[in-house]
Amino acid sequence: MADIATFWERIGLRRAGGVAEAGWGRTLAAALISLIYFLPVLFIIFTAFKPQELALSVPPTLSPTSFFGLIPDQFVFTPTLENFGSVFSRVMTTGSQPESTGFDLFFFNSIVIASVSVLLALAIGTLAAYGFSRYPLKGNDTYLFIILTTRMLPAIVVIIPVILMFRAAGLSGSYSGIILLYTAFNLAFTIWMMKSFFDELSTDVEDAARIDGSSGMKVFFKICLPQVVAGLAATFVFGLILTWNEFLFALLLTGPDTRTVPVAMNQAVSSGGRGTDWTLLAAIETLFLVPVFVVTFFLQNHLLRGVTFGTVKK
């Protein structure tokens, strides 16, 4: 029995008593579960590199290489970059020259609209959150609740009034319109998130800074903000993902020049009457993943601290 126990302990599937490093067994189990979660994304990425005719082949092709003969040939596909090229330019009608699809503009739109509106919301929301946290109003909680209610309604409920307002204000189809909407959309989340970060800070340091001779503005920028960088990063990424993926408002409120990728993607794959072009869709999606992935990757250290904030007391 003892031998068996030590075996399980050694590979880390049994607690050896106390806190220890996870063994290979646990690491492997975690990797396996992560892989299962990642499979759909992996499949999309692979599909983006497949020739069009293999997109829906049965049995599906699973790997771009055979791993030195490990994977049978019928599951292996030859990777191609053709799909990525046709995202930006392809033959629209049979027999004619390839045309630009406008996707360079749509990617540009998505990046500008999402980042500007999230940064704007972050700037406004952080200031508001600091105010709510440090200079509470009478009925502070009521105000915060009202702000929260803006996130309670499904977007579809408010879409008609929003369209009418945009039309009346002449904002339909403009950058400023959709940026304004997304900023408002992100504000509630930003305020709540950042307020919880400011609440957790010790006010002693701020008091000390004021006594040392720092004005209120300096206290905010030099003392408080540096301490909530993790919160800013986490809020930024969450807001970015939310805005980046938004479809409904973008569909109804952007024009041909301000169209974002989710909307354009929908139109690209269903146009032309040839059914859904799966490899094209996968290529757009793969490209669509990249910016968010890059941002998340560079902010990951902050993010980890941001999302686990408050779980361990100081």
Partner: protein, 362 residues
């Protein structure tokens, strides 16, 4: 001149009155301790002086100027916080230099002054470390260094030693006192530790429930407590407070009855003016003399618990009806559990508090 004057300062939080009509003045070079149990308003009083809380009523006058409406950064004060409040992202040296930066001094001047205080507080070795990388005692010294690096109107300390262990506390107490005595600034120290107050302060203000109960020198508040609260708060072991019935005064002695005993006690002559009624007797544990037999002016009790404290022995004794009386005797005096004690209190140290709790004294 570096002085602090608080006149009728009141602070309300909603309907809760944290500080009520506090009057306190601190002269230049004087160290005043605000002493009291937690929640008595001492920190709020300090924060009102600092400008971190706005006084609801009354005046805060620092260096001869009314400062009620000025924010903390305009009051030119220095404060040491209970949890040190060091800037976590700045090194020890940068922490100490921060107030000088805000004053707009040149970097050579700043470096010189930082090095000077670092020398005084033995921080030269750790100037380049972050606050998270230095010991608790060093953090405390950094906080003090940051306060004394400037030349402010006054110094404020909020429970400066509460986070240190006993030994460090002893040595820091001495160090802070030495540093302060060279600066001749008005200083207010908030503490709940009476030993800290008694050792560091020139005067002690004892607070309870938002009121200042007594202000006086450490000797005065110990020897002549103004009321029952001060009497019970200052001194270890705690003063014996015995509820008694005052029956009359004759031949310099007061006739008091408690716990089925009638005792004639030598007390302050001012007691003669008191009408018969309820009083509280306050006698410090060290003010008793143990005599061999009951002579009519002794308090009789039975030794119940003996706690040797080294140089002295603390005896918990019980009167006939069960009141607890603490007696401290010299180590040589051997007392056994169950032994009957006849205790004669020292007249000069027998305090009589009238029914309203105020000391009756000439």
């Amino acid at each position: 001149m570096s002085t602090i004057d608080i006149r009728k300062a009141t602070k309300k939080f909603g309907s809760f009155v944290a500080v009520r009509d506090v009057d306190l003045s601190v002269a230049a070079g004087e160290v005043v301790c605000l002493l009291g149990p937690s929640g008595c308003g001492k920190t709020t009083t300090l924060r009102m002086i600092a400008g971190l809380e706005r006084a609801t009523a009354g005046d805060i006058v620092i260096a001869g100027r009314r400062m009620n409406d000025l924010p903390p950064e305009k009051r030119d004060i220095a404060m040491v916080f209970q949890f040190y409040a060091l800037y976590p992202a700045l090194t020890v040296g940068q922490n100490i230099a921060m107030p000088l930066h805000y004053e707009g001094l040149g970097s050579a001047e700043i470096a010189a002054r930082v090095n000077k205080v670092a020398g005084i507080l033995h921080l030269d070795e750790v100037l380049d470390r972050l606050p998270g990388q230095v010991s608790e005692g060093e953090k405390q010294r950094v906080a003090v260094a940051r306060a004394i690096v400037r030349d402010p109107n006054c110094f404020l300390f909020d429970e400066p030693l509460s986070r240190l262990d006993v030994e460090l506390r002893h040595s820091m107490r001495g160090q802070i006192k030495a540093v302060l005595s060279n600066l001749s600034k008005a200083t207010v120290i908030v503490t709940h530790d009476q030993l800290e107050a008694l050792t560091m302060a020139d005067r002690i203000a004892i607070m309870c429930d938002g009121l200042i109960e007594q202000v006086g020198s450490p000797h005065e508040v110990f020897a002549r407590p103004a009321n029952v609260f001060v009497a019970s708060f200052i001194g270890t072991p705690q003063m014996n407070l015995i509820h008694a019935q005052y029956k009359g005064y004759s031949n310099g002695k007061a006739k008091v009855a408690f716990d089925q005993q009638d005792v004639d006690l030598k007390v302050n002559p001012a007691v003669a003016k008191l009408k018969p009624g309820k009083i509280t007797l306050g006698i410090r544990p060290r003010a008793f003399t143990v005599v061999p037999e009951d002579t009519g002016d002794t308090i009789d009790a039975m030794a119940e618990l003996i706690e040797p404290m080294g140089a002295e022995t603390l005896i918990h004794a019980r009167t006939r009806t069960g009141s607890d009386i603490r007696v401290v005797v010299a180590r040589e005096k051997r007392v056994k559990t169950g032994e009957a004690l006849h205790l004669v209190p020292d007249a000069a140290q027998t305090h009589v508090f009238a029914e309203d709790g105020k000391a009756v004294r000439a």
